[in-house]
């Protein structure tokens, strides 16, 4: 804890400036595209989960036999899937 009270060295400051500049450049050039790609993947995952585990929502899309076979692979994603699917969405969320 004592270290944090010392003034940052020239090297630390230079590294911070470099990271800041890199961050700004990344934010301007790529961050929007990265989040857009993540959202596209999210929607595809939603579709996959809906097809494979649709009977959890009362919509059996594929026979339960295959759903059960896929279940072990889908389990790790169920929590975040539910969280995202149940989230309130609005047209103003789609601006970017």
């Amino acid at each position: 804890m004592g270290d944090s009270k010392e003034p940052p060295s020239e090297k630390t400051r230079a590294r911070k400036v470099k990271e800041g500049v890199k961050g700004v450049f990344y934010g301007m050039a790529a961050h929007g595209h990265v989040t857009a790609a993540l959202r596209t993947r999210m929607y595809l995952e939603h579709l996959f989960m809906f097809i494979t585990l649709g009977d959890m929502l009362g919509v059996p899309v594929i026979p339960p036999y295959y759903s059960l076979k896929i279940l072990p692979y889908a389990v790790p994603n169920i929590k975040s899937w539910k969280q995202r699917v149940f989230r309130e969405r609005d047209f103003t969320d789609q601006v970017f």
Partner: protein, 604 residues
Amino acid sequence: MAGILETPFLWVIATIAIYAVAYWGYGKWIDRNIWRSDAKKTTPAHMYMDGVEYFPVSRYVLWGYQFKSVAALGPILGPFIGITYGWLPALLWIIGGNFFIGWLQDYGSMMLSVRKEGRSFGPITYEFTGAKGRTNLLAFVLFYLIIISAAFIALIAVFWNSFNGTTFVPTIGILIAGLLCGQLLYRVKMNVFAVTGIGLALVVLSLYLGTILPVKLPWGTWNVAVWGGICVLILYLAAILPTPTFIQPTNYLAFYPAYAAIILIIVGALATPFTNVTIKLPAGPFLNDPQGTLGPIWPILFVAIACGAISGWHSLVSSSSSSKQLDIETDALPVGGGAMLSEGLLALASLIAYMVLTPLFVFGDGSAANPAHSNIAAWPVGAAALVAPILGIQATAAILTTFFGLVLVIYALTVQALVTRFFRLVAGETWGEGRFRALGNKHVATAVGLGVPWAFAVTGSWWALWLYFGGANQLLAGLAIMLITIHLARVRARSRYSLVPAVFMVITTLAALVWQTATFAYSVWAYLQNDKTWILRNVRPPIQTDPNLLWAAIVINAVFVIIGAVLFAVGLSMAVRLFRSYSKSLAEARTRAPAAADGGTQEK
């Protein structure tokens, strides 16, 4: 060396100094005393982290993202109309508007969304004004998007038609390079640096090809309509194709020339005492448009210069994605407020690019060959004049005007592609079910979202479209600040610092819409009294010049009356709902203790 007072240099320094006071003085004060941002409070990015929409991002990254999302054509082209009243009022609005209103809106929208668990303006409007208020907002946004699209399609068409046709080949070059880069990146899985290198080499090559292979259409006054049609086809593809195939890589490549241009003109403006580039436009102030077209300085100037002073679009950006990725509350000031003040500097640089041109070139003389307020391609010439002495080349060099012209085109095209996609999504939300569900179809919605604006773009005059766009955009800003004010009233924080700007913006923009609507209504009335000059003034060639197309001039004037009236009615209805909600919130706040979850504590 030119006298320092004859150059824009001192104005640049003064604006930077005032913005510094806005950020470190007024901004910090509002942040600490009104919003009471707390770095220890959990933000939605941490609370709902899912790695897709909600995740914490460094303030530097988010600043870059926010700036890139808000800085587009607005701060570049708004000053073109603003300087009608002299460059001094335009400069004062860029400084004062941003100081008291602009940054406050962007920052406040972000903080409001953060305090409302990352929700965007739709649900917040629903909470404050009920279901009718949200439907009202939806209707307003639909009209707003149509008007933006019309203004941008008109701009792209005019730019392709200007500069001796040198900007079309580079634009197509960037689009093809974008498509290729998308394939290399996502299919071939090539390294991003290598892809960027290949893409930029293609952009440079296409710029060179543009100067030696100009594309000129042979249809005279119909050229702009044809260029507009080509633009609509490109935008249709951009809106329909998956984003990683077209929009995403194209926007990525377009980023490099666009930001190189910004840096170049800011450096050019700062170097004017050494490059002998002097101010040539009159300082003003002129209380009315000297050419008698646009009307009085209030309210027109305040809607003409939107982004750079204040813009409603920013409130949607701040509350939709940036607020979900804010690491700590105290980052909202540098990200939201800082990005907006930086955009003010971009508007300043653009204003300077006009200031160094002659009045005749910028304003026109009102003749058929050089009509008033029509030379929207003036900016690249001014930018070239600022930058040429630094680069050691002639300001008239084709490569320079082509480069800056291309920058304008790609700014408009990339933003318009996103606007068209957004329109499609909003149309799906509005008409997805029920009797008009065909309008919610992906292809139909895109065709409507481009076809209607194209019709406006090729018939109405550019200044009329821009002022309607500015009116709608600034009204959205006023409504956004009202939402912020309602929240502050609800948590018993001092709301007058946002209430006064909100009232000013709502009254000014409604007045501008009334003025515009009345102008078009008067034009139709004058025609009925056998005076054709007014209706012809509001349209563009060939309708303006061909007597056989007089009926089209009457129709477009009448349509503009309807658009203005609808925008005014929807905006007024929304404003009334928000002001009612505000007074109700004030009354409720007096009778209850502040809720801890709102982040507000009782004012001492």
